[in-house]
C-alpha cells in the first residue's frame, strides 16, 4: 500500500469519525438540560411566547428530523443562526475563529521548536543537572492548570509586581489580534507554557530511546560525525511520537484554550463556546463542537502521515 492509499484510507476513517461525532454532538447538545426558548426569554416568558419561539428555532420538530436537517445544512455549509445574536453562526464565529487561530498558530510556532530543542538537549545531557532540573520544571508546569499559570502571569506581569502587559485583551470590533500585540503576549505565553512540558518530555523520551538504538551505535562505530548522527539519524527518528503529542496539543489549543480565553477575556471560539453553553445557543455549541472534533481528526491525520514520512521503518511497510 502506497502513501497515497494510506492517506485516502485515513481520510475515510476521519470522515466516518466526523459523522459519528456529529451525531454524538447533536443528540447530546439537544439533550442538554434547560429549554433554549426559556433561556432566551427569561423567567417571565409566557407559554404563548415560548411556543412561538420553539417553532421559530425548529425545536418543535422530532429529534431525528432536526438532526438530518442540521446535517444536510452543515454539508451545504450552512451552520444555522445563533439563537442569541440572531447572526449566522459563520458570520458570528468567523472573526472569533480567526482570533483563536492566531494565538493557536503563534503558540504552536513558538512552543514546538522550543520543546524539540529542549527535549533533544535534555536527552543528550541525560542525567545531568540540566536534564534533572529541566525534567523537574517541566513536570511542575505540566501539573499546573492553565488557570493557575495564567493567573500567575497576570499577577507578575500585569497587576501586582510589574505592569508591563494588559491583564485582559480588548479588541475593537473587527480588529485583528495582532493590532494589539501587547495584549496577546500573556495569553500566548500561557498556552506555550501549557504545551512545552508535554512535547519536550515526549521528545526527550523518544530521543533517549533512539540514541540507545543499535543503528545509532552502528553509525557512531562507522565514524559518522556526531553532528550527522544527531541531525540525520537520531532527530528524524525521534520525531514520530512528538508529532502525535503535538497533534493532540494543537487540537487542545483549539478547544481546550477555553480557560485561557476566559481568563484573559479573549474573544475566541473558546469563550464563545462557554457563552453558548451558558445560554443554550445550540447552533453555536454544535458548530464549535464539530469544529473542535474536526480539528482533532485532521491534526491526528496529519500527524500520522508525518510520522510515516519521517520514519523509514513505517515507510517501508507501506510499500
Amino acid at each position: 500500500m502506497g502513501i497515497f492509499k494510506f492517506v485516502l484510507r485515513r481520510l475515510a476513517f476521519g470522515l466516518g469519525a466526523l459523522i459519528a461525532i456529529s451525531a454524538a454532538i447533536f443528540f447530546v447538545t439537544q439533550g442538554l438540560p434547560a429549554d433554549p426558548a426559556k433561556t432566551i426569554l427569561g423567567r417571565d416568558a409566557t407559554p404563548e411566547n415560548l411556543d412561538a419561539l420553539r417553532a421559530v428555532l425548529g425545536l418543535d420538530r422530532p429529534l431525528l428530523s432536526q438532526y438530518f436537517g442540521w446535517l444536510a445544512d452543515v454539508v451545504r455549509g450552512d451552520f444555522g443562526t445563533s439563537f442569541t445574536t440572531q447572526m449566522s453562526v459563520s458570520t458570528y464565529l468567523g472573526p472569533r475563529f480567526g482570533n483563536s487561530l492566531f494565538i493557536m498558530l503563534v503558540g504552536t510556532i513558538v512552543s514546538i521548536p522550543i520543546s524539540l530543542i529542549l527535549g533533544g538537549y535534555m536527552a543528550l545531557k541525560r542525567d545531568s543537572l540540566f536534564d534533572t532540573s529541566s525534567s523537574f520544571t517541566t513536570l511542575v508546569f505540566a501539573a499546573l492548570p492553565e488557570f493557575v499559570m495564567g493567573t500567575g502571569l497576570i499577577v507578575i506581569f500585569a497587576t501586582t509586581v510589574f505592569q508591563w502587559f494588559p491583564a485582559v485583551v480588548f479588541l475593537e470590533e473587527g480588529a485583528a489580534p495582532w493590532t494589539n500585540p501587547m495584549g496577546v503576549v500573556l495569553p500566548i505565553t500561557t498556552l506555550v507554557l501549557g504545551c512545552i512540558p508535554y512535547v519536550s518530555r515526549t521528545m526527550r523520551a523518544s530521543m533517549v530511546e533512539v540514541l540507545e538504538s543499535d543503528y545509532i551505535e552502528m553509525a557512531r562505530l562507522k565514524g559518522v560525525s556526531e553532528r550527522n548522527v544527531l541531525l540525520r539519524h537520531a532527530f528524524p527518528n525521534a520525531l514520530g511520537p512528538v508529532f502525535q503529542v503535538s497533534a493532540l496539543n494543537i487540537a487542545y489549543l483549539v478547544g481546550g484554550a477555553v480557560i485561557v480565553e476566559r481568563l484573559f477575556n479573549y474573544p475566541g471560539v473558546g469563550s464563545a463556546l462557554t457563552d453558548a453553553i451558558r445560554v443554550r445557543d445550540l447552533p453555536v455549541i454544535q458548530f464549535l463542537s464539530l469544529l473542535i472534533g474536526g480539528v482533532y481528526v485532521l491534526t491526528n491525520l496529519v500527524a500520522d502521515v508525518a510520522t510515516v514520512l519521517v520514519t523509514p521503518r513505517l515507510r517501508t511497510t507501506l510499500k
Binding site: 438540560p33 500585569a158 505592569q163 494588559p166 485582559v168
Partner: protein, 528 residues
C-alpha cells in the same frame, strides 16, 4: 416637586423618611454610617470616557423597559430615565426623574406634570404622547414581565391633560404607586420605540454602538435637560466572560469601574491602593423557599426548626465572605414599616431539635429534602445552609443540595420538588408582598382566591390612604408572615462594586442599584 409636595408627603414620603431613620439606627446596615465617606471634595472635571466592566454575554439586550441581567440594567440606566427615582433615603423623588411633580388626587388617580424642554437623543422634544406610549408599552401583554403593572394600569389608563401634563387612572387603588413610578425600568421612550428600532431615550448618554457579549459605547447627550451634566464625554461598557477577568482588568487599570464584584474577591481589591470598593446593603435578599403546603414544609414546626437551627453570621462569613448583614426572615428594610426589632432570629439548636422531634423526626427517621439552587443563584448559600443544618442536627436532618443547569426551568416554582433558593432586589414592603402574592407565588403563603388573612390585609393595606392605618395592617402582615411564612432570609446581601480612585462622584451609601445607583445615570460621575 412644586405645590403638591405636601400631599405626596402625607401618603408616602413621611413614612420613608422615618423608615430610613429606623433602618439606620436599628440595623446599622453597612454604609449608612459612612454616607459621604469619600464624597468628592473637588470640582467636577469635564471630559473623558468612563470604562465600565461587567460580566455579560451574547444574550445581553438593550431595551428601555425590559431586562434580563445586570448588564441590561446597566445599559438601560445609561440611556433612559423614569418619571421618578428613589432619592438617597429611598423616597420617591422627581429630582432625577422626568416628572416635574406628581399630584396624588386619590390612590387611583395621579396627575403628573412633566419637566419642560426634555429632548430625546434624536433631537425630538418629549411630549405627552411619548409618556402615554411608554406606559402602554409597559402594560402590553405581548411583552413579558407586564403582569404586575397590568393589574393596576390598562393601556388606556394614561390620558393627556395638556401639553405638559398627564393623568394616570389606576384600575384599583395602590398606596405604593409612587414607588412604581420610581422603578428604573418604567422609563419614557419616544412614540414607536421598539427593541429592534433606534435606541432613543432621554438619558445623559446616547447609544453609539452595541455588540452583545463584547461592548457598547455611549456618548454624551449634548442637549441633556439637567444643565451642566453629564461631566463625562462618554461611557464604554465592556463585557467580561468572568468576574476573575473583570477584577484583573480593574487591577491593571484597563477598566475604571467593575460592576458586580464577587464577595470572595473583595479582599483582593481592597489591597490595591488605587482601587476603592463600594459594598453596601439596601436589603437585597436570597431567601430559602419552603413551599408551606408541601411536605415536609407543611408542618410549621419543621419551618421554625430550620429557621432556628442556623447560625446566620456564619452563613454570611462562609457564603458571602462577610459581605452581608444578618436578617430576621423579614424583608424590605428600605420600607419605613420595616420592623428590625420585631422578630429576633436567634440561633437555638436545642429548641430546633425539640421541634423536629415533636414533628416525628429522629436519626432513624431523619428529615430529608433537596434544596435546589442555580449556579447563578447563590449556590454557596444553599451549601452553607445545608451543611449547618445537617451537622448541627446530628443526623436528624439530611438536606441534599442540587444545582441543576435547568434550575429556572424545572425547579424554580415547580410543585413538590423540595426547597429552593430565590433572590429579590430591595423593594418597599407592599410592593414585595404584591409580587410574591400575585406574580411569583414562591411559598404558596396566600394563593389567589383564598381567604387568607395575609392576602386580605395586603389588599386592605394597598388600598389604604391613611399611613398610620396602613402601618398597622403591615405589622399584622409581618407577624403573620413570620409565624406562617415559608421564607428563610438569613441575611441582606451587599451589592459590591469597585472602581479606580480616579473615578469621582460616587458615594458609599445603601442603594438599590449597583455603583451608587450607577452614579444617577452616570451623570454625577467624572474622572479626576
Amino acid at each position: 416637586m412644586e405645590e403638591h409636595d405636601d400631599f405626596i408627603v402625607e401618603v408616602s414620603r413621611r413614612n420613608f423618611v422615618k423608615g430610613a431613620g429606623t433602618l439606620a439606627a436599628g440595623l446599622g446596615i453597612a454604609g449608612f454610617s459612612s454616607v459621604g465617606a469619600y464624597a468628592a471634595p473637588m470640582a467636577p472635571k469635564k471630559g473623558g470616557t468612563l470604562k465600565v466592566g461587567i460580566v455579560g454575554g451574547t444574550d445581553d439586550i438593550i431595551d428601555a423597559q425590559y431586562l434580563f441581567k445586570l448588564a441590561d440594567v446597566l445599559r438601560l440606566n445609561i440611556g433612559w430615565e423614569a418619571l421618578m427615582n428613589y432619592d438617597d433615603k429611598f423616597k420617591p423623588s422627581t429630582e432625577h426623574g422626568l416628572a416635574e411633580s406628581v399630584e396624588v388626587k386619590s390612590l387611583t388617580k395621579y396627575v403628573i406634570k412633566m419637566k419642560k424642554g426634555v429632548e430625546f437623543h434624536n433631537g425630538k422634544t418629549m411630549n405627552m404622547d411619548d409618556v402615554i406610549y411608554s406606559w402602554q408599552r409597559m402594560v402590553d401583554p405581548a411583552l413579558p414581565g407586564t403582569k404586575a403593572l397590568a393589574q393596576y394600569l390598562s393601556p388606556t389608563g394614561v390620558k393627556k391633560i395638556d401639553a405638559n401634563t398627564v393623568e394616570m387612572n389606576l384600575l384599583q387603588p395602590n398606596a405604593d404607586w409612587l414607588t412604581t413610578l420610581s422603578q428604573y425600568a418604567c422609563t419614557i421612550v419616544p412614540v414607536g420605540y421598539t427593541r429592534t428600532g433606534p435606541q432613543v431615550g432621554t438619558g445623559p448618554f446616547k447609544l453609539k454602538s452595541f455588540t452583545p457579549g463584547v461592548e457598547s459605547t455611549h456618548v454624551r447627550h449634548a442637549n441633556y435637560w439637567d444643565s451642566g451634566k453629564p461631566h463625562l464625554d462618554g461611557v464604554r461598557v465592556i463585557n467580561f466572560s468572568s468576574t476573575d477577568a473583570l477584577v484583573n482588568a480593574l487591577a491593571a487599570g484597563q477598566v475604571d469601574a467593575a460592576i458586580g464584584v464577587p464577595a470572595s474577591l473583595v479582599p483582593v481589591v481592597k489591597k490595591n491602593k488605587k482601587l476603592k470598593v463600594l459594598s453596601t446593603s439596601a436589603g437585597k435578599i436570597a431567601p430559602i423557599v419552603l413551599p408551606i403546603d408541601e411536605a415536609p414544609f407543611n408542618d410549621k414546626r419543621v419551618r421554625q426548626a430550620l429557621r432556628m437551627i442556623i447560625d446566620r453570621k456564619k452563613i454570611i462569613k462562609q457564603a458571602l465572605s462577610g459581605q452581608g448583614t444578618v436578617s430576621n426572615d423579614d424583608f424590605s428594610p428600605i420600607d419605613p414599616n420595616y420592623n428590625a426589632n420585631g422578630y429576633v432570629a436567634k440561633q437555638d439548636v436545642k429548641g430546633a431539635l425539640a421541634l423536629l422531634k415533636a414533628a416525628g423526626y429522629s436519626k432513624e427517621k431523619p428529615l430529608k429534602f433537596t434544596l435546589w439552587t442555580g449556579s447563578d443563584n447563590f449556590p454557596e448559600v444553599a451549601k452553607s445552609f445545608a451543611e449547618q443544618v445537617n451537622s448541627l442536627s446530628g443526623g436528624v436532618a439530611k438536606i441534599e443540595v442540587g444545582i441543576p443547569a435547568d434550575f429556572w426551568d424545572t425547579k424554580y416554582m415547580a410543585k413538590n420538588v423540595g426547597a429552593y433558593t430565590t433572590y429579590w432586589n430591595p423593594k418597599p414592603y407592599l410592593v414585595q408582598a404584591g409580587q410574591m402574592l400575585d406574580v411569583y407565588d414562591e411559598t404558596h403563603l396566600a394563593p389567589k382566591g383564598t381567604n387568607n388573612p395575609y392576602r386580605k390585609w395586603y389588599e386592605q393595606a394597598i388600598a389604604e390612604p391613611d399611613a398610620a392605618k396602613r402601618r398597622e395592617l403591615i405589622k399584622k402582615m409581618q407577624a403573620y408572615h413570620n409565624e406562617n411564612g415559608g421564607y428563610i432570609i438569613p441575611f441582606f446581601l451587599n451589592v459590591i462594586d469597585a472602581h479606580s480612585t480616579k473615578v469621582q462622584g460616587l458615594v458609599q451609601r445603601p442603594a438599590s442599584l449597583n455603583l451608587d445607583t450607577f452614579g444617577r445615570h452616570f451623570k454625577n460621575v467624572w474622572l479626576a
